[in-house]
Structures are given as structure tokens and as C-alpha cells.
């Protein structure tokens, strides 16, 4: 294990967890709204935002799957050391981290069951940038309409059709986070 895997946790976990959660909750409750989230210093190429989400949400009860450029020994060790989460295959993951391309196909993730729609995966999608422009979002949490730079629209439209089942998404870059729950309707 490299030393890098042992560093970069929250300096003051109770406070930073709380602040990070409020950013994540605000993002998810208001799809399209871009929030600041920071505190973690994860190994590259994991962003500060994704690292902070992982520290705040993951533990031994939440299997995590890694894909694409994030499937490295250092990132794996960092997550295991700081959270105790197991690294698993996508079908068993509660949280999945990757780029939009590396996470495909989305059908490999759990979407919940009719009786327990909450037993579904949350995807943390690392992006190059996040901007309040592009796809138009409507639905719960959005007053009229919101805009967010999404990697595509079709997959999110298909995901919304599964409601109340489906996947929920966090998009991260740098210290920014935005979110798209299954309830959001996405248009061009």
C-alpha cells in the first residue's frame, strides 16, 4: 500500500461530513443546482468533490465499484482504508464511480425492487466540467426548469421511465457537485 492511500481524509470528520452532506442534499433536492463540496484530498484522478462524497457516504455497509481511470490500486486502497467499503463488481455496488463512458452500460447496476426502490445504486460521474446550461430539467425540486451540462439525455430519459425504480446520479468535477435523481425529466 502506498502512503498516498493513507492521506487525504477529512481533517475534522464530524463537521466536514455534515457540511459535505448539506451540499450533496441541496444538489439532489434541487437537480441541476451546482454546489461546492470539498475537504477530501483523494489520489488523482479522483476529484475533490467525488472524494468528499465517498468519505461522507461510504462505509462497510456500502459496496463500491470503480471503473475506467478510477480503477487503480491507489484509489482502491484509499477508499478501503478511509471508509472500510468493499470494492465489488457493478451489479453489487451501492455506489459506483467512473466517467460517463466507463460506467456504461447502466443496466449493470441495481435499480431497486418494486417493494424496495431505495435498494438502487447511486452513480458518481466524474465530468470535465459542470455548467448550468445544456439539457433542460424539470420535476421535483425544480421550480420551473433548470439546465445542466449532461453527458447525454437518452439514458436519463430511460432511467426516469423506470420510476419509482432507477438510478440516482451525482456529477462531480473539481470541488463542484450537481445531481440528477430518477424523478427528473430531461429534455434537449
Amino acid at each position: 500500500m502506498q502512503v498516498q492511500a493513507l492521506e487525504g481524509a477529512f481533517a475534522n470528520a464530524p463537521i466536514e461530513n455534515a457540511v459535505a452532506f448539506r451540499a450533496a442534499m441541496n444538489a439532489l433536492a434541487r437537480p441541476g443546482q451546482i454546489e461546492k463540496i470539498s475537504g477530501a484530498k483523494p489520489p488523482a484522478p479522483l476529484s475533490v468533490a467525488a472524494g468528499s462524497l465517498i468519505l461522507m457516504l461510504c462505509d462497510s455497509e456500502t459496496p463500491v465499484s470503480l471503473s475506467g481511470p478510477f480503477e487503480t490500486a491507489v484509489i482502491r486502497d484509499w477508499i478501503i482504508f478511509h471508509t472500510g467499503a468493499q470494492i465489488v463488481t457493478p451489479d453489487k455496488a451501492v455506489f459506483a464511480i467512473g466517467t460517463w463512458q466507463s460506467l456504461a452500460p447502466l443496466s449493470q447496476f441495481a435499480i431497486g425492487t418494486a417493494q424496495y426502490p431505495d435498494r438502487s445504486a447511486t452513480l458518481i460521474v466524474e465530468c470535465d466540467e459542470l455548467k448550468p446550461q445544456g439539457a433542460t430539467l424539470t420535476g421535483p425540486g425544480i421550480k420551473d426548469a433548470a439546465q445542466l451540462s449532461l453527458p447525454e439525455t437518452q439514458s436519463f430519459q430511460d432511467n426516469a421511465k423506470l420510476f419509482p425504480l432507477g438510478l440516482d446520479f451525482f456529477f462531480t468535477t473539481g470541488t463542484q457537485v450537481a445531481a440528477l435523481p430518477r424523478t427528473t425529466k430531461v429534455d434537449h
Binding site: A13, P14, A18, F21, E61, D118, K143, P181
Partner: protein
């Protein structure tokens, strides 16, 4: 420095609650099971709300706690003190100053903003529980969207009483999908469930968390010929004169004389300070003098 972890609960527990809150927001109206903890207060005193608040608070928050609209009842005072000690947060009785408001059975009269969070204490989160006692069955009913029984209940209200007699914990349908218990708020408050603040519901004994993101569509169940009505006592507040607030009826003596006062104490006090006086306000001032 306090002897407790920030906001009392350990980090592992708060993480578990936070994950449940996020799934709750993603599936509005669906009750997410969570591993509710023992809290240093009895079940029925808001252990669910307290756990949700503990997972939500940051040190910069200003907390307000109300019990049936009042800031000064035992339940509200003790929960406020609990978080003053364990989280070191500022507390307030002023609705507009608060960033997190924990409530038992009321929505404040003042319209909430998008930077505020309303946390409800919920006794029985399952709206179908009194119609079907088995959790295995109600879970299936939610999965199948089988809500006919609830309409039968409201219909029986009409056939027996001539109107829908359910006056609190009035069932709502969220985004056209889940039927949800809005906690025992008076049905007067139901229209306010569509608001710009985040609403979180915590049921400690029943181990459920659910949520409403801002601007979520919340419809009170009704019939075309018996539409939903947000009712209140047909009276003005005797202290502040407000005609549009939810009122408590207070028995004054053995002869049965009574007065009506706003259940939202902050709203009522604010109006009185602004010079609005109700029918019995003068009498009350004399008594105090």
C-alpha cells in the same frame, strides 16, 4: 468542547441516516427503512425527527423547534437544549431566522424559504397502517400502487359524517405515485406541503425516513364531488386578530367560556408586536398588569 460527538450521533450512524435521506429525496413520498437508534428521550418524543436533524445540522445552522406550533412547550424546549449542548448550534424561536426547523405536527404560518429545511417528527409513517396492520401487505400495496382502501376510508367518512371527517394526518399523493402520511399536521397545513424548502420526515420507533424535495407536487386525496378543504376554526385569533392562521381552542373556566389563539406562537407574538390585537388581547394585558 463537549463530551459528545458533533450532534450526538456517531459518524457511522449519521452516514446511514444521510444515505436514507438522499434516497428519500430521490423517491419522494417513499418510506426508506433505516436503523433507528435509541435516543436519550422516549419514543413518541421525536426520536425520528431528532435523528434526522442530527444528520442534517452543521455548526453554522440556527435551529428552531416547535411542538404543535409552540416554541415553549416541554418537547420543543428540551430538543432545542439537546442540540445546544450536543451540536453547539444557535437556537431561535423566530421562524425567519431559522435554517433548520424541527416540527411536531405543524407547518409554520410564515412561508418558508429555499434555504430552510423543515424536519417533521412522525409517529406512524405508514398512511395505510390503520387500514392494514401488516407491514408485508402495506409494502405490497405501495409497490402495486393499490390505494383503493384509502379512498374507501374517505368514502366511509362521507357516508357516516356527510363530509371527509379526517382532520389531521390527512393522506396526500406525492408526484402522482406514493400515498404519504404528512405526519399529524392539521389538514389546514396540507396545501403548504408544496413549498420551496426541503422537507424531511423522521419516524424513530417505526424506523422510516421520507422526504419531499422543494416544489414537489403534493395532492390531498379527495373526490370530485367532495373536494379537499383546508379547514380551521371559524374564528379570528383572540390575541393577535389573525383570520388566516390555524387556531387552538382554549377552555378558560368551568362555565365553558373559551378563546381561540394562534397555534404558531412566533407568528402570533410577531403580529402582537406589530400592533395587531385580537378581541381578548386587552383583557389579557390587564390581567398581566
Amino acid at each position: 468542547m463537549t463530551d459528545y460527538n458533533f450532534a450526538y450521533l456517531d459518524e457511522q450512524t449519521k452516514r446511514m441516516i444521510r444515505r436514507a435521506i438522499l434516497k428519500g429525496l430521490a423517491i419522494p413520498g417513499y418510506q426508506v427503512p433505516f436503523a433507528s437508534r435509541e435516543m436519550p428521550m422516549p419514543y413518541g418524543w421525536g426520536t425520528g425527527g431528532v435523528q434526522v436533524s442530527a444528520a442534517t445540522l452543521t455548526p453554522d445552522d440556527t435551529l428552531k423547534v416547535i411542538d404543535q406550533g409552540a416554541d415553549d412547550t416541554t418537547n420543543a424546549v428540551s430538543i432545542r437544549k439537546f442540540f445546544e449542548v450536543t451540536a453547539g448550534v444557535t437556537t431561535t424561536e423566530n421562524t425567519t431566522e431559522a435554517s433548520v426547523i424541527q416540527t411536531r405536527h405543524r407547518i409554520p404560518e410564515a412561508e418558508l424559504r429555499d434555504d430552510q429545511i423543515l424536519v417533521y417528527q412522525v409517529p406512524i409513517p405508514e398512511p395505510l397502517r390503520f387500514l392494514e396492520p401488516r407491514e408485508t401487505e402495506t409494502r405490497k400495496m405501495h409497490a402495486l400502487e393499490e390505494y383503493g382502501l384509502m379512498h374507501v376510508k374517505l368514502y366511509e367518512d362521507i357516508s357516516q359524517h356527510g363530509a371527509i371527517a379526517t382532520s389531521y394526518a390527512y393522506p396526500v399523493k406525492v408526484e402522482g405515485r406514493y400515498v404519504m402520511d404528512p405526519s399529524p399536521i392539521p389538514k389546514f397545513d396540507n396545501p403548504k406541503l408544496e413549498m420551496s424548502a426541503i422537507q424531511l420526515f423522521g419516524a424513530g420507533r417505526e424506523q422510516r425516513i421520507y422526504a419531499l424535495p422543494p416544489y414537489t407536487k403534493v395532492e390531498s386525496l379527495d373526490f370530485e364531488d367532495y373536494p379537499f378543504e383546508a379547514t380551521k376554526a371559524d374564528h379570528a385569533c383572540d390575541m393577535c386578530g389573525a383570520e388566516n392562521s390555524y387556531l387552538d381552542e382554549v377552555i378558560m373556566d368551568d362555565q365553558g367560556s373559551r378563546m381561540f389563539v394562534c397555534s404558531d406562537t412566533d407568528f402570533c407574538a410577531g403580529r402582537q408586536q406589530a400592533g395587531h390585537l385580537g378581541a381578548l388581547a386587552a383583557v389579557n394585558a390587564e390581567d398581566a398588569a
